[in-house]
Each structure stands twice: as C-alpha cells, then as structure tokens.
Subunit: 544 residues, 2 copies
C-alpha cells in the first residue's frame, strides 16, 4: 500500500471536477467531447463477462441518460454551447483485462467477498478527445467496475447534450486503503430493505468496500435466524420489522454485485437484551432498573458468557457473523448466575470472557471469515486473539497507537470524526438540557481533514487498513437516513481511496457535484452550502 499526498497533486490540476473519490493518477485536457446517442459499452474483449458486470454496465448507461447533472457554474454550462456544437462525439467505451490479469474471469461479487487483503481494485481509464473509443483496463472484474463508476461521473448535461470539457482524460487509479466502509445500526430503529439497497448504491458510487451491518442490539433483534426463530419473533419490533433470510441474502448479493462486502455484526456479550425476549436464561440483568446503573442506554441486559450453555448458544448463533463486545461490569457483578458460573469454573471474569471469545472466533475462522472486534477486547480485556483479527478503533487516536502496537490491523471508526449521529441532541427522556454525548456534529470538512495516521509510527500506520463512518440510529429511521449520511459519508470514502492529504477547500466543489449527482439518482443528499456558493467555488471560503 502506498499512502501519501497524491490527492493534492491531482487537485492542483483543477480538473475532473465531478470525480469522487479523486483518482490517484489523473490528467485532463481542455477539449469538449459529447456522448453519442449511439454510445455503448463494449465487452467483446472479455470472454463470458460475468452477469454482475453486465448489470453494472446497464446501470452505468442508465445513469449517463438520467443523471442530467448541470455543471456547477453560474451559467450552468451555457457558455459551452458553441464548443459542444463542434465537439467530437464518443460512441464507445471498451472494457478489457490488463496484462496482469490471471486469465480466470471472476465476478464482481466473488472478488468483493474475497479476503480484504486479496482484493484488486485498480484500473486505468482513457477518454481520447478525438472521438475514438474510450477504454477501461484492469486486472480484475472489480477493477473494471471501479473504472465504470468513475466513467459515470465524468459527464454533465446541457440541454440534453451529455458532455465533458476536459478531454482527453487519462486516469490510472487504485485505492490507498483496502477497507472503506459505512456502518448502519438497524436495531435502535428499523430500516426497510429498500433503504439499505439504496444506501448500498450510494456507497458503490464512492467506491466503498464494506457495509458494516450492526444488525441487532439491546433494543431489537430484527434478523431471522432459522435455528432460533424465536429471536426475531419475540425480539424484533414486530412482524414487519424483521429481515428474513431472503432479505439478508438479497442485501448480501446486492452489495456484492456493487463491490461491497457485508460485515454482519451481532453484539455480544453486551447489547443483547433483545435476546432475552426469547431466551431469558442467557441474559444477565435483563431490563434491570435503573437502567443507567447497568447499561449506557436502555434497556440493560448482557449475555451470561460465563455459562457453558450460553456460550454454546452464542457460538451457534454467530456461526457466520462477527461480534462486538462492550461489557458493563456492574451488570455481571450483580448477576448471581454469572458469579456462580465463575465460581464453579474457578475462572476470573476476563478468563471466562477469553474462553467465550475464542469459541466464537474459532467458529468464524473455520468458516473462512475474518473476526472483527471493537477495541475494548484488546485494550480493556486483553483477550487472546488471532493475528487475523481486525480491530475497530472508535474511542481515540491514542487507542489506534495502542492497538497497532500489539500488531493488530485496525479500522478507524473514531467517534470524534466518524460518528454521523453526533450533534443531534440528547434523546433520553425528560432531560431538556441534554446534548449529544459526542457533540459537536461531525462536518464533512472535519472528517475529511482527520488524519488517520497522525501520531502513528510507520509500522503502526502500516496496520491501518482503512476507515468507516457510522450511523447509530437512536434518532434516525427511514425518514432521515439519506440526509444524515449523504454526502458526509463520502468524506472518508475519499480519504481512504485517494489517501489523506487533500484540503477541504479544493474538495468542496467536487463534493457539491457528488451530492447533486446523488440527488439526481434518488439519494437525498443534503445541501452543504447555499447554491450561490456551490456555483462559485472558493467565493464562500472564510477568507474570500
């Protein structure tokens, strides 16, 4: 992996104003080029192109017709009209594998679900100015897909003419970090499948790799688990608030076809109260009051991991999913069953948790999955974890140093920069002066200028595999999903694709473009500034 400041170099060229994330290698010209009404995408150089690639091509061609994005200048492109009249016209984009391709054609989906260290996402894209065929070359189908995504962002509309004024375009691109994610909590409040699919589309437009699905929590258990149907039957918010097995499969395959791996998370042993609706015997402190003595938010309740039956139950439950382990100690101290189990086995609390975790992770690794844990498992409970384990760091930059010092790969999920729910005020009842615990609101600018390797040694920095922005949903549901996530979550997507080092002033015009393109595609990205500012790059800067 190469990390650096390529972003600044490219941004200085002032080109390709609608690309997000910015390609790591980019050169553009100043010639106008229009898209022919006969434009097509040619896969004849690929034997048996995978269906998900063909589907991606269909979507791309659709967007080229429907985006109808006006350029963000005061005249919205009207002054280009004379140029466009005499411009060459592009009628073909040719996809092909590059010299490094293995010869074995795999689908986007297969490649997206491969282990993160094996994924190949680079591509090169050329768009000549003379109307001759544009090309995308890559050593993987995933790379071709990333190139298609970039191609789809090159174009503006003027009176139904689709054009660029920056040809010829030459892009050699690939991500600096492998993990670029977004987390959605579907337990505090439920999101219909259609909302998740739309979110996956938007994620793919900014080339994200991972949908971290925080599926269940203390408030509800919306996932149908065939071996334990009672979990969702009793633990969900109701029959219309359950992701069926088919729904989950649909989400996973929809994501994969868009280059996105789903990281499913079942919170254990904390954040598990909803399991008590069906299996009260496994939950300590279930619904105990006052809740604030036993949990960070209501309702209280955690798995009795020291109990052998509970451990077996949990291992079965998470046989294909990863786990999160924040633990509230007073809950276990107060739980007689846990204390009895610890006494019976002669284990300490941490030893018992260690045994519990190892059992769960063995299940995961035997099925070819990579375990992911939150940082407390390393820093607070000092558990025995395999080197394979990926650790999510959310509390502080100091903790990023501490976890990487132990040799673990980390994903930056810093609450100070990446928690999308912050700034929405307090939500616990009857406390009118309560603000977000993680105030202030995380602006895209703050996220974008948050350096994920600040104060890390080179060796520590090399263990940062990426980052993600996160939406905890105490105050969100379908009504504000788009508006609270987009375009903000694009900020980290660019940092981890293009590399840290861009400045927010240079990025802002492109982010405006992205937000409006998302809106054209049905994702309700919000306005970042008055349109007056969006049409005049730099003029609304603080010192302009």
């Amino acid at each position: 992996m190469v990390r650096g400041t390529l972003l600044v170099v490219a941004a200085a060229a002032g080109a390709a104003s609608a690309l997000w994330p910015l390609p790591t290698g980019l050169s553009t010209g100043t010639k106008a080029l229009t898209l022919s009404s006969h434009f097509d995408i040619d896969t004849s150089a690929i034997s048996n192109p995978p269906q998900d690639l063909l589907d991606a091509i269909t979507r791309t061609k659709g967007f080229l017709k429907t985006d109808q994005l006006q350029i963000l200048t005061v005249d919205r492109g009207a002054s280009f009209a004379p140029q466009l009249k005499t411009a060459k016209s592009l009628s073909s984009l040719v996809l092909s594998f590059d010299k490094g391709h293995s010869g074995k054609v795999t689908s986007i989906s297969e490649e997206a679900l491969d282990k993160i260290e094996n994924r190949v996402e680079g591509y090169s894209l050329t768009v000549p100015a003379d109307g001759s065929a544009a090309t995308i070359k890559a050593n993987s189908t995933l790379g071709l897909f990333r190139g298609l995504t970039t191609f789809g962002q090159l174009w503006y509309d003027l009176n139904n003419v689709t054009y660029t004024v920056e040809s010829p375009i030459q892009i050699t691109d690939g991500p600096v970090y492998a993990y670029r994610g977004f987390m959605l909590d579907t337990a505090r409040n439920f999101f219909p499948v259609s909302d998740i699919l739309r979110t996956l589309d938007a994620m793919s437009w900014v080339k994200m790799t991972t949908f971290h699905w925080h599926m269940v929590d203390s408030q509800s258990f919306p996932i149908e688990v065939p071996e334990f149907p009672e979990l969702s039957a009793k633990g969900s918010y109701g029959a219309s608030f359950i992701y069926s097995v088919d729904d989950v499969q649909n989400i996973v395959s929809y994501a994969a076809a868009r280059g996105i791996d789903v990281l499913p998370e079942v919170d254990t042993p904390g954040h598990t109260t909803s399991i008590a609706e069906a299996f009260p015997e496994h939950i300590a402190c279930a619904f105990a009051t006052p809740w604030a003595s036993f949990a960070n938010e209501p309702p209280a309740g955690q798995l009795r991991f020291a109990n052998a039956d509970t451990a077996n139950f949990t291992a079965s439950l998470i046989s294909s999913i990863s786990s999160r382990f924040p633990v509230n100690m007073p809950c276990y101290t107060a739980d007689e069953q846990t204390q009895a189990d610890l006494n019976a086995t002669g284990k300490t609390f941490n030893q018992a948790l260690d045994t519990f975790m190892q059992g769960n992770h063995a299940v995961l690794e035997s099925s070819g999955k990579t375990p992911v844990v939150w940082e407390e498992m390393v820093l607070e409970f000092n558990l025995t974890l395999s080197n394979e384990t990926i650790v999510m760091v959310w509390i502080s930059a100091d903790d990023a140093a501490a976890v990487t010092s132990q040799g673990f790969r980390i994903v930056r999920a810093d609450s100070v920069a990446y928690y999308l729910d912050c700034g929405g005020g307090g939500w616990v009842g009857n406390d009118p002066s309560d603000n977000s615990w993680c105030d202030p609101f995380k602006t895209w600018q703050f996220t974008y200028t948050f350096d994920p390797t600040a104060n890390l040694t080179d060796a520590q920095a090399a263990l940062v595999i990426g980052g993600e922005q996160l939406l905890w949903t105490e105050q969100s549901h379908a009504s504000n999903l788009d508006s609270i996530v987009w375009p903000r979550a694009s900020a980290s997507a660019e940092v981890y694709w293009s590399g840290f080092g861009g400045n927010d002033s240079a990025a802002l015009p492109r982010l405006h473009d992205l937000a409006f393109r998302m809106t054209q595609r049905g994702v309700g990205a919000i306005a970042l500034q008055p349109l007056w500012c969006a049409l005049r790059p730099g003029v609304c800067d603080i010192d302009a």
Copy 2:
C-alpha cells in the same frame, strides 16, 4: 388571553395520547369505540358550507382511512381486540356553529387571513361512548376546522379496525396564543412548491397559524415580481428556481384553506445582494470582498436606502410584503453613494433609515397589512414605528423585555430555542473546525421547556402574541426539509396553543404518536428515540 398551566392538568389525566397540541380542556373515558365503515361527517346544520371546509372534511375522512396508526404499546393494541369486538360504532360527526356565531358564514381562508387579533379558533368536540353522533361546535369556520384536526388525531388502527379506547371524549379547546408559526428561508436554497405545500399540511395538523416565508435574501431572489421581472430573471438560481405569480397565489390559497396566513418577507435594506443582479444601482457593496468585512455571510450587499430612487424602488417592490432590516454599518460607511445621499439630504444614517422604513410601512398599512420587523429596528435603530407593528425577537430574552417595554407586540423567534438549523456544523468553506454559530442543536425538549414569558412582567407578557421555529437553509434543501423540521417544529406549536407549563416527559409519548402519524401522511418526521422507548412511555427517561 389566558396563559397558564392547563397543559399539566390535562396531561396528568394520561389521556388522549395522540393529541398534539394538547387541548386546553379535555376529559376522556375508558370505553372502546370503533369508527363505522359508513362513517360520515355531517354539515347539514350549516347553510352553504364554504368549499374549503368541505375540502377539509374530505381530507379528514381520507386520513381516517389511510393513517392506519398503530398504538404505541408493546403489543401495538392486540390486547384491545376483545373490547373492540363488542364496542359501539361511531357513524357520524356533526358540525355546527355554536351560540356565539355571528350568523354570517365565512370560509376558513377568509378567517385565516383576518388580522391576527380577530381570529376565532376555539371549538368544542364531543365523542360519546354509545355510538351516538359526535359533534364539533364552534363560533367560526376556523374553529370547526381546528376541531376536525383534533378529531383526526383520536384514532388508532388494529387489523383495519379504526378505534379509540378513551371514549367518551369531551374537549373544549382554544389557543392560548394567537401567533403560532414556522419560518422557511427559500433564498439560501430553493424549495419546490410541492415541498412548501407539504409543509403547510404538516403545519395545519399542529394548528399553526402563520407561514413566515423568508422569500429572498442576498443569495437569490426566487420570487417573480411582475413589475420587476428582472429581479427573479437575473437574481434567482435559474429558471427552474423561481416562484411564479401563480405559484405564490397557489401557496397563499393552499395555506389559507388550512387556517394559515402567509407572512411574506423581503429582506431590506440588508440581505439584498441578489437585487444587484438586475438593479446594481440600488445596492451598496454588491459582492464586495472580503465578504466577511461587509456581511455576516457571503455575498455582501445592501440597499442604498438613503437614495430617493432606491427608496421609491423599494416601496414599489414591497407594496404587499413585509420587511426585515438587519444592517451592516461598514458596508454603508464604505459606500460612496450612500455617504453622498446622506450629505445631500443632511440626514443622519438613522434618520434616513427611518424615512425609508416609514415609506415602506405606509405602503403596507394602506393595503391593510400589519408590518412586522425584526427587533434591531426597535432596539438598535430606534425607528418610528406604528403601534400596529409586530416585532420578531430573535436575539435574547432580555430583548423580549426591552421591546415589550416599548409597548410593541412581539413574536418569540429566539435563536437559542427556535432556530432549527443550529447544530449542523459550519458551512463556510475551508474551515474544518467550524461549528454552527448557534450550537448546540435545538432539541424538541429544549424548545418545549423554553418559557416564552420568563422574566417578563405581566404587562410585558401580555404583549407576547406567540412564537415560531425557523429554518435558515444554508445547509438544507428539499432532501432534508422534513427531517430537520418535523416533529421538532411541533414543540412550539403546542407551547403556543396549549400554554407553557407542560413537561417534556409527559409530552414525549404524544409527540412520538404525532411523528408517526406525520410519517403515515407522507411527511418525513424523524425518530426521537429507539422504537423500543417509544413503545414504553417513561422507561427511557433519564431516571427510569
């Protein structure tokens, strides 16, 4: 006007859990009652019922069928099934005028547009438990409409049975304050007409009286003014970002039919840069840089009010609209034309502003309108204003005391409690550490417990005619209009209808209900808590 704590008394009854704003007089029973499939609303007691009342009845009957709101209990009402089987069925709601009615039938629209001190909104509503006809009586058509709105909030759904379990219901209701508003800024970013109409619907559901339309500002001039077509042609964001004369008429009549008066605002003499696109001769410091030296936000520019031509132009422009007058002094000091005009007339700055204002207000009053100004006109510039003038107080509670001390009626528009955009982070470019100037986010709880007459004398308090929540739209457009406004803007709607004194813990269950009902009706109100909490009133309180 009677102000007090009726709200607390009614809330203590624990009844009518879905009503918002809470009626000032309410008693409920414990009997189940269902809505007959033949249910109808009877206006035969009203000779020539106005068309807008008939339309409101049609909408109400529609909502009774489509709301399909499940009660917010853990079983979502399933346990009521046996009661509902044997419940009486309501087949008629009879509307009639009460004894105090003048005999002259006027429309909702006519009454909504009457001077605020003349409006009559009270009504009484009875829903017997025995299936005999429900009744709404009022001394005005507007009162009948308010009663209809309340009636539409009484019902839940269980398996397609529409029911209440709180009959008999007896309501005697009327607002404590006459002005209950919401302000939308359509100048920083544009909102399609359909978004404004949807907002008016939501406002009517919580019985608001005033849509304060901040139509234009420095960034854009989206209003078509027939006498000055260049204003929007050159000053708007483009041809598709203009409210035509027909659009405005549509908005005004749509609002009036829902009991809402439109208070149109044209910012003068500050916040007028967009006028310079068409009439540069009237604007001082147009687009001057650095903008921060001349304006609170870009672009700089203010009307040359000391110039006679500009004053005439402005008087023509605002012949039917009210004005706002924040002024940036350095702009005028730097403007040679303004200094020359002041020298030529021998007037001071404040004297010239006074003349300008009086001219504009004379235009308004001669057309039967009530001038509304922001507090700076009284406290900073000490202008000569008629007693008719209503003053918007936005800076501080101290200013509320100061303005009412001068005998003016005021509307509370306090930024500390009512600005809906606060907490969204800074939006000026290239300043990653910038937060909202008015952080933190104004939670509904904070708004709800903000006392509009705190520290006022009785005489001062008597001049508070109401309040409004406000959306400035630097970071909002159609994508997040609903989510940033609803249900939060309902908080002040209840305070000013029911009177201050409710506590947020008692209000929360009803507000959850309102938010879900809004969602059912197509307004994207956000979640205030995890649904787990919404289904368990009080359990997620801080001390539960």
